[in-house]
Symmetry: C2
Subunit: 120 residues, 2 copies
Amino acid sequence: MFSLDHRDARPIYEQIRDGLRRMIVTGALAPDEKLPSVRALAMELAINPNTIQRAYAELETEGYTYSVPGKGIFAAQRQAAAPARLETLLERLTELLTELHFLEVPLEAVTARVEEVYHD
Amino acid sequence: MFSLDHRDARPIYEQIRDGLRRMIVTGALAPDEKLPSVRALAMELAINPNTIQRAYAELETEGYTYSVPGKGIFAAQRQAAAPARLETLLERLTELLTELHFLEVPLEAVTARVEEVYHD
DNA sequence: GGACTGTACTATTTAGATCAGTACGGTCAC
DNA sequence: GTGACCGTACTGATCTAAATAGTACAGTCC
């Protein structure tokens, strides 16, 4: 599935959460596709199942996954993200842009990247 | 100057670092303006001077401040940000846009915000 | 010289991340 | 219906990093 970076100072559960979220938003994990089970992923990464569960719980709070008792955890539909998550992202976008603006990164460089990501 | 949020789970030194960076990039702190001394800010926020120093050290690494021995710490010029910082920001921008795109936030909503921040 | 600055250490306390273990109910194939 | 999975929910121990406390030294300024 993926691997951990032990040089990364971030907590393990955050690395897993962010890694899985990335796979979902990039399409590497399709909507309604099953994620690895808590125990299986814990085994594969050689860490405690509790740590995986914590990452999964946060992804569900964000709206990126849903769980079916007894069956597993699945990637959610694109529209399913929690409003709080979207708000967080937009806030972060403004902060990011403010800093880029301060650093005199030209407007064109920013819009170019926006269109690059949106182009498909 | 500003205050701490004890509900915020982030380490204190990160809150201070981010808060000061924000003041610099928004212009609340002008280039070459003096930041509060390590001891003064520690006193004001009722925390340990070491914690302030850590925040200041990171800001200097990012290129947002420079220190003059015996005199104090000052906000840097706009162009002075470390290349590593800029790279981090651009990487984060791409990730952010990827997620917004996945959530079907319209292109127009994003570009509107870009121009809003850049407008002046 | 006295009152400030930044900076660099060591040692200690505290809090959060991580691990270990156990338990319970739902799903599914045989 | 029973065994093998699944998610979920606890308790308690351990380990690591944040934060504190204290001290010290060199530069600046009046």
